[in-house]
């Protein structure tokens, strides 16, 4: 049986926030949750989407880092910035194609999902995958994921002409070989009524 890998299926996410809570339990960034859980567009959709670091083979965050502070472990996990080096410029935050790194102004440092390296480096599941009830985040073997899902895992993305290969996989239909990312907007059916100023969904949307 092959080694375990990380698989995301955004469309399985039910927005329960378990991953967000569990992430903060990780020893490498205790008390701070590194996972992103996006509400896509609250007024038009109930969809939520978790985003962990995809751990790129050639991480763009590391390439644009002026301090040379972002390193990969030999097993391909891209770590948070090295504390002695990170100068807090946020280049990685705004360059990552997946929008993953977080800049903490308080400590003037970039931090990000490191696949719970204290756990995954000794064969345990990352915290988020260990608690996800819907299988949106799964840490298992390739054989197991192929046996239990109808889709296939892929790890090749295209952003414009930039091809990015990642350590983390995303579940897609069998016909797909690569995700070509273009801008996707979601818009609901136009309402015949004037916008309700007390529409809670719109208020929440604005508060994001």
């Amino acid at each position: 049986m092959s080694e375990s890998a990380f698989f995301i299926d955004h469309s399985r996410c039910i927005g329960c926030q378990s991953c967000v809570q569990a992430c903060a339990e990780c020893d490498t960034h205790r008390g701070v949750s590194m996972i992103h859980l996006e509400t896509i567009q609250r007024s038009d959709s109930v969809q939520t989407a978790p985003q962990v670091c995809m751990h790129c083979e050639d991480p763009i965050c590391a390439r644009v880092c002026p301090a040379d502070a972002i390193k990969k472990t030999p097993d391909g996990v891209v770590q948070s910035s090295l504390k002695p080096r990170c100068i807090g410029c946020s280049n990685c935050v705004v360059s990552c194609p997946f929008g993953v790194p977080k800049y903490s102004a308080q400590i003037d440092q970039m931090m990000k999902c490191d696949m719970c390296y204290d756990r995954s480096s000794i064969g345990k599941k990352p915290m988020c995958a260990s608690v996800c009830p819907s299988g949106a985040l799964t840490y298992t073997t390739m054989e197991e994921i192929q046996r239990t899902r109808s889709g296939i895992p892929i790890n090749t993305w295209r952003f414009g002409e930039e091809i990015v290969k990642t350590k983390v996989y995303v579940m897609v239909p069998r016909e797909v070989e690569r995700i070509d990312v273009s801008l996707v907007q979601i818009s609901g059916t136009p309402s015949p009524l004037a916008a309700d100023p007390y529409d809670v969904a719109l208020m929440l949307e604005g508060a994001q």
């Binding site: 490498t28 763009i60 880092c65 002026p66 080096r85 100068i87 797909v176 801008l183």
Partner: protein, 358 residues
């Protein structure tokens, strides 16, 4: 850990070699001039001075190589440009004083990470800086002490050959001067103790730490400090027992650390001031025009930084132009995440795949 991709060309090596040589040459010239043609140079400390020259070469080489990286070079230049803008310069100098005190003297950003880390780092940093401030000028012949001609009880200090003060033996200032390296050694040992304490108990640190990068520097600092204190103990407590051997052992630990200085974790001492430059860059960015996300139409950062990133991405052959004419750099991180989920979901929808059974 694997280093981020950066191909080193032959010209980069030559360039860095030239800067390394220039840095070492400047130090050699500084030693010759500062010691008044080596008149004040103490031959007993020649091994320290020699290792310092080699370290200077290594630092010049490494710094030049670091600046050859496109992002480093770009932001190094931008930091200076923003800092030196005439209309900003007075305010920038005042701000530099504040952030120097906060980030360098007090190291508050480390305190916010954890008080244990801050305690360790503050003692290590100031212990090392104190020791360096004494050791280097002495080794280079820039500072020397001699007894006054008319009294063996009075010590006179000279810097670059000029008298800068005198003190009587047995006074507090004399005790402080003669024992300042011991004080520095104790400070470093306190820092090493706290650092090792943290590294032996913090599971997060333990999972990512590496011997060569995280533990070896602490071992080196411990070795320097403890052998330095052994010299004092040998002098005052053991009537000079094994002093020659201990002084050679101490010299070896210092020389090895000096040679490690440019290539290991200690290089961050020279790299870290870039944090101050980025602070000015970020302030200019906040005051300037903001970048607006093409997807959500919300501001998400400074336009200057996004434009600089596009330039940088071109240098690095990162091709983010999208087919619809937009640039992926113009999409905010939150929209990127939402977009990915919609793209993945859209694949299932476009192929008419039933969500059930997935």
């Amino acid at each position: 850990m694997k280093k981020a991709e950066f191909s080193v060309r032959g010209s980069d090596t030559l360039h860095a070699f030239a800067w390394g040589s220039a840095t070492a040459s400047v130090l050699v010239i500084g030693i010759v001039i500062g010691s008044r043609g080596l008149k004040d140079f103490d031959p007993a400390l020649v091994s320290y001075a020699g290792a310092s020259v080699l370290a200077a070469f290594g630092l010049g080489y490494r710094y030049a190589m670091w600046l050859r990286r496109p992002p480093t070079r770009l932001y190094w230049r931008r930091g200076w440009q923003v800092f030196l803008q005439p209309r900003r310069l007075p305010a920038n100098i005042a701000h530099l004083g504040r952030i120097f005190l906060d980030n360098f003297v007090m190291q508050r950003f480390i305190e916010k990470r954890s008080s244990l880390r801050w305690t360790a780092h503050w003692f290590l940093a100031w212990g090392c800086l104190l020791a360096a401030a004494i050791t280097f000028p002495l080794s280079f012949g820039w500072v020397r002490f001699e007894t006054a001609r008319d009294s063996q009880e009075i010590y006179k200090a000279f810097m670059f050959g000029f008298p800068v003060g005198s003190f009587r033996l047995g006074t507090p200032i004399a005790e402080l001067t003669f024992n300042i390296l011991d004080i520095a050694a104790v400070m470093v040992l306190i820092g090493v103790f706290f650092a090792l304490w943290r590294r032996s108990r913090d599971h997060g640190a333990m999972s990512v730490q590496q011997f060569a990068n995280d533990l070896l520097p602490l071992i080196m600092l411990f070795a320097i400090s403890i052998t330095g204190l052994f010299l004092t103990a040998s002098t005052h407590l053991m009537h000079g027992l094994h002093y020659v051997f201990l002084s050679q052992l101490h010299a070896i630990t210092v020389i090895l650390t000096l040679l490690y200085l440019p290539f290991g974790k200690f290089f961050h001492i020279f790299q870290r001031p870039a944090q101050l430059a980025i602070d000015f860059y970020k302030r200019a960015g906040i005051e300037g025009e903001q970048a607006i996300c093409v997807r959500c139409a919300q501001p998400y950062g400074s336009k200057m930084q996004m434009e600089d990133l596009k330039t940088l991405q071109e240098m690095l052959c990162i091709k983010y132009q999208l087919a619809d004419g937009t640039h992926y750099q113009d999409v905010c991180p939150a929209c990127r995440r939402k977009n990915l989920a919609l793209a993945q979901d859209g694949l299932w929808k476009s192929l008419g795949t039933d969500v059930r059974g997935r």
